[in-house]
Amino acid sequence: MIGADAIVKCLEEEGVEYVFGYPGVAICPFYNSILDSSIKTILIRTEQNAAHAASGLARVSGKIGVCAVTSGPGATNVITGIATAFADSIPLVCITGQVNSELIGSDVFQEADITGAVESFVKYSYLVRNVQDIPRIIKEAFHIAGTGRKGPVLIDVPIDVQNAEIKKFSYPESISMRTYKPTVKGNMVQIKKVAAELEKAKRPLICVGGGVLLADGEKDLIRFAEKHQIPVVSTMMGIGVMPTRHPLYFGMVGNNGKPYANRAMNESDLLIMVGARVADRAVNQPDLITENKVLIHIDVDPAEIGKNVGPAIPLVGDAKHIFEDLLEQEIIGEHGKWLEVLDDYRTCMVPRRNPDPAYVDPAAFITLLSEKMQDNGIYVADVGQNQIWSCGYHIVKEGKFLTSGGMGTMGYSIPAAMGAKLADRSRQVIAVCGDGSFQMSMMELATICQHDIPVKIIVLKNNYLGMVREYQHYTYKDNYSVVDLSGSPDLEKLSSAYGIKFLRLETMERAEEMIDQFLENDESVLMECVINPMDLVK
């Protein structure tokens, strides 16, 4: 058995079903060994998308996404995908081929110092020096990626190590790392303090972030909110923790959020932030959320607590364990009045849009689409104006909402949707992007065809990089610079070149019927929606 066989064997032991990647000489031993395995390989068309696809798979399956690329440019191309996963704490294991050990450091063909280059975007990285270390390193890598605050781990394997004979293969049952013991269970003293503060609170509010989903804590959180009738708002990454139409859910906060959600934040007297970083997009003035209120910050990563805002009560642990413990606490409190106030805000403070009937209204379209989607469907939003409309108007029922929240990486939606579909083929998966973000990963249409991954794609077409255009509209008084997308391909011809069904929607008149056609079969469809180029998210 050689090192490459050992890597494949380890991946089998970890229950890996798919590896996304792109071969090159330095990773060829691995791709040769994987032929004898039941693990399926997906040839993506650029390495960045291997990490995005693995991210989509991880977010739907709850497992760890795996990608494998070659040395040099293969490895450097994957960095943006890794950084995207790191920003959103998505668990990945990324294997990169490396040049021969003896040549490392001599700048030979396709050599890149990838462990050095990704240092600030990974939870940990390894350069494998000795083939005998492979089982331990892979076991550790999966453990690190999938526990505590999750994130990507990179393993760089020189080609000679992949080809070296491994004496005795045994996959370790357990690991012990003296430097890594994440805390997931909350401190009981702190939990009791939270309960005591809740009893005192008249206007409590929970703000959920992506950490709740990563900890698989949605059910416990909802039970807790329902038990004590506490209203809930979310950050962008927290969308989907609660069904959009749950009576206790008051929308997304932040610059691009719902006005009533922000008002709820401002007026609450007790705010529980859970699994959220309190970053600028959700809370642009962190000082405000400690004014006139008690802030409780729950996070599995102690470094997040106090990084952007100093809480009154810090509580380290994951959302699932903490809300399980909180559910055990006796808490007496009644906030019916507060809920009534918020209900009023929700009814009165609806952002008004004036859609142009000559175009598709993205807001109305997205709501209609989400109503017609399967209840457990997966909606993947890209980055740009489309993301803000998706956050604002998509209705989550029992499904999932995926997007690149922290990094805001354009082109995320199509590869992530592919990974999501492979994680569960029974579920409907829809990628919604703009014409800018679509063109950042349209090469993946080939992957969709080659591997029969029936994801559905909506392109909101306005012939502009809309989000930047909107910024230039406000900041530079309509002096547009490098945002015109003229020269984009005819999407109908493009779809037919790939043999993908195509639909075009020009106004809202035929929206219902077209969405029905779009959703009817479990097949890939590309639907172009022509929207007003001058439309704004605000």
């Binding site: 430097t179 470094a303 106090g306």
Partner: protein, 161 residues
Amino acid sequence: MKKIYSVLVENRSGVLCKVAGLFSRRCFNIDSLAVGETDDPAVSCMTIVSSGDKRTIEQIEKQLNKKLDVIKVKTFDESVSISRELLLMKVKYNKSNRRDIMEICEIMNAHIVDMSKNMMLIQMCDIPERVQLLIGMFKTVSIVEVARTGTLALQKCNETD
């Protein structure tokens, strides 16, 4: 506010780079850094002196703890520590200032550890402020080369140890 971080790390290649990278990535200051093996050859001790406001100081400790090669972080004030720095300094001398140089060394508890016809190599091990003071005293003499270790520090012994 000045703090001393005594950081025990795995003695592996690349760890210094990761720790130093963390400081630059997050715009934390490094006033001084000294690294050496401990009694356990698998463990190195990094002594980092840094300054910043309360939130920065707390973040430095938390971010260091997040690094998977970091075993333990101890943060303490200068006032509760014994800190030392080693200085080696080469100076040019002549007949007229030789006596003065020797006197300064005696007063400051520095030692002349090597010399030639016109050069001396002076060694001093003391707290960083006194090391700085000695260098200041020699500003009028011609300094040829200076090498300093950076601060090493351990918390003072106390009853609870």
